[in-house]
């Protein structure tokens, strides 16, 4: 059985410097939730509070409705994996994996068998008698994960466990973590600064910025319906236009966008660069612009356009990304077509 986590109004100050400004978060039992944010946003501090390694200035943490504030780290039903594998250098791999069993009051008799099974599970069979220094970074991190799972935690806390690994290994390891999570079905909090990583494996993502939980949502929602400018920018939306809603249209300095029903309220419009199409012909939902420059981004091409009206002194840059590039010339007049169903009005400007 796994455990649901409830984080209630957690605040944390280091001396007078507020690091967490009232975080509320509920993680249903058995889910994998990523806490995403750039460095210094407080995500690791939040995880350490859930683990009990750090004390919150105010607020509470509940596991299955049970308040954890006065429960010490070692008594909480958690296990945590850190950025570094932190394998105890004075023990073999097997002894490392068995650590939680040996540290418990009633060590089970079949420790060796359990260790072998666990090493098998993390795809390191026969490694029990090796020493930590003989393993690669990815292997060490898998041992660290095995060691954490061995304590049979109800909540698994992962503090950027992949950020010390190289790119290819990261992809492999994140899938592996997802696999492990799915087979154990244990509630997992995964702290990361890598949005791709978070998008790939999470049931939901909690996005933090400067000690505030900006948005807690399904991965795809961060792309389609970001709630604030910061979220939109972090998730790679490059076109955020200022303006105002007038009936069914959003008015900007360079033209009007036709909105669909149930659009939100706000003074910012997010249009993702991959939802725009460049063409020479005008269409029902298009506006005029000039091609300024272009750049290859991987297999795609990113075209910078200037949509500002000739009468306006202010330049409005629009970025269009597509997988092929018709031979537009520099300074050529083009029409940029948008899809009304892909427009999103952002509520908060921060």
């Amino acid at each position: 059985m796994s455990t649901g986590i409830k984080i209630e109004n957690i605040e944390k100050k280091f001396s007078t410097n507020p690091v967490l400004k009232g975080i509320n978060l509920e993680v249903p039992s058995g889910q994998l939730v990523s806490i995403l944010g750039s460095s210094g946003c407080g995500k690791t501090t939040l995880l350490r509070i859930v683990a009990g390694l750090e004390r919150a200035t105010s607020g509470h943490v509940y596991f299955d409705g049970e308040q954890q504030d006065s429960i010490t780290v070692e008594k909480r039903a958690i296990a945590m994996v850190f950025q570094k594998a932190l394998l105890f250098p004075n023990m073999t791999i097997g002894e490392n994996v068995a650590f939680s069993l040996r540290a418990s009051k009633n060590p089970p008799k079949d420790i060796e068998k359990k260790v072998d099974e666990m090493l098998e599970l993390v795809k390191l069979p026969g490694f029990a008698s090796r020493r930590p220094g003989e393993l690669s970074g990815g292997q060490e991190q898998r041992v660290s994960l095995a060691r954490a799972l061995m304590s049979n935690p109800k909540v698994l806390l992962l503090d950027e466990p992949l950020s010390a690994l190289d790119a290819n290994l990261r992809v492999e390891m994140r899938n592996f973590i997802k696999e492990i999570h799915d087979s154990f079905e244990m509630t997992t909090l995964f702290v990361t600064h890598d949005q791709e990583e978070a998008m790939a494996i999470s049931d939901k993502i909690a996005f933090m910025e400067s000690g505030v939980l900006e948005q807690y949502d399904f991965p795809e929602s961060f792309v389609s319906t970001p709630e604030s400018r910061k979220v939109a920018k972090f998730f790679g939306c490059r076109n955020i236009f200022g303006g105002k809603i007038d009936g069914a249209v959003f008015e900007t300095s360079f033209g009007e966008f036709v909105l669909q029903e149930n659009h939100g309220k706000g003074e910012l419009l997010a249009v993702r660069q991959e939802d725009l199409i460049l063409s020479r012909e005008e269409s029902k939902y298009s506006f005029e612009a000039r091609v300024v420059s272009w750049q290859f981004v991987g297999s795609r091409i990113s075209v910078h356009c200037d949509a500002s009206k000739t009468t306006s002194t202010e330049r409005t840059e629009v970025i269009v990304e597509s997988d092929r590039f018709a031979d537009f010339a520099e300074n050529e007049k083009v029409f940029i077509t948008y899809d009304p169903s892909r427009l999103h009005v952002i509520g908060r400007d921060n």
């Binding site: 780290v73 070692e74 296990a79 945590m80 850190f82 932190l86 105890f88």
Partner: protein, 267 residues
């Protein structure tokens, strides 16, 4: 030229280090060694038979010194490790002052301090007792342990302890199974230093222990005055043995893989 100089220098170096020992070894088995002779005419084990007399002063001195040095070694290592850890890993008010106070005995002559605390020792009945001598020996030993252990703990990553805790281990278990094995080289070297300093301490023992606590250095000094050089030689050899035995067991922490502890590097 180089080919000649290297062995020559090495030979000189070894000779200058070991010559005093050599003469002590010879003296300890000489039965009369007069001036023009390069080596003694006759040899005898008289020195050693007196030195190893179970009821003699030397054997009793060895026992007293060993007990005192072992206790001082343990206490200094425990206190110094705690202080060293605090200095290396935590920030607290008056940290600089604390650091200075801990290391002050290395700078201020121990003799001056002892003159002052002797009055206190007499007042609390510690004068002329083994307890008092042990307490006095902590003055020069603790600072060394603090220096060694603050260096050890500065290189110790506290995350290992947190890793132990999040795996369900209590603080005591974490200390026993995680921290202690990782700082063991520092502890071994600390104990060695404290033991050796206490073992060879003379002035503090004399002032605090008076004539009542007869450690080996006290006995040795008495013999030196007696000018029986054979006996002095044998007693000196006995004096050197325990630290050498201890060094044998801790030397692996002084050099080699874990040499960062003392900064001596690999020799």
């Amino acid at each position: 030229m180089k080919v000649i100089f290297r062995p020559l220098f090495l030979g000189l170096f070894v000779f200058s280090v070991f010559f005093p020992f050599l003469s002590i070894i010879i003296w300890s088995i000489a039965a009369g060694w007069r001036f023009p002779d390069l080596l003694p005419e006759r040899y005898s084990m008289r020195g050693y038979s007196i030195a190893f007399d179970p009821n003699g002063d030397i054997v009793r001195g060895v026992i007293t010194s060993t007990i005192i040095a072992l206790i001082v070694g343990v206490i200094a290592t425990v206190i110094g490790s705690a202080a060293g850890r605090a200095i290396a890993m935590y920030n607290f008010k008056m940290k600089k002052a604390f650091q200075f106070l801990v290391l002050a005995p290395l700078i201020v002559p121990g003799l001056a301090v002892t003159m002052g605390i002797q009055i206190l020792f007499i007042k609390y009945g510690l004068s002329d007792t083994v307890r008092g001598v042990i307490l006095a020996h902590l003055i020069p030993t603790v600072p060394y342990v603090v220096m060694i252990m603050s260096g050890t703990f500065a290189n110790f990553d506290r995350s290992y302890e947190e890793q132990g805790q999040v795996l369900g281990a209590s603080r005591l278990t974490v200390m026993r199974k995680v921290t202690l094995p990782m700082v063991l080289p520092g502890l071994a070297v600390s104990f060695l230093f404290a033991f050796v300093i206490s073992w060879s301490e003379y002035i503090l023992t004399l002032l605090v222990g008076g004539a009542a606590v007869k450690t080996l250095p006290m006995v040795l000094f008495a013999f030196l005055r007696g000018s029986d050089l054979t006996l002095v030689g044998a007693a000196s050899i006995v004096f050197m043995i325990p630290p050498l035995i201890l060094l044998r067991f801790t030397s692996k922490h002084l050099v080699g893989r874990t040499s960062s502890v003392t900064g001596l590097g690999s020799v």
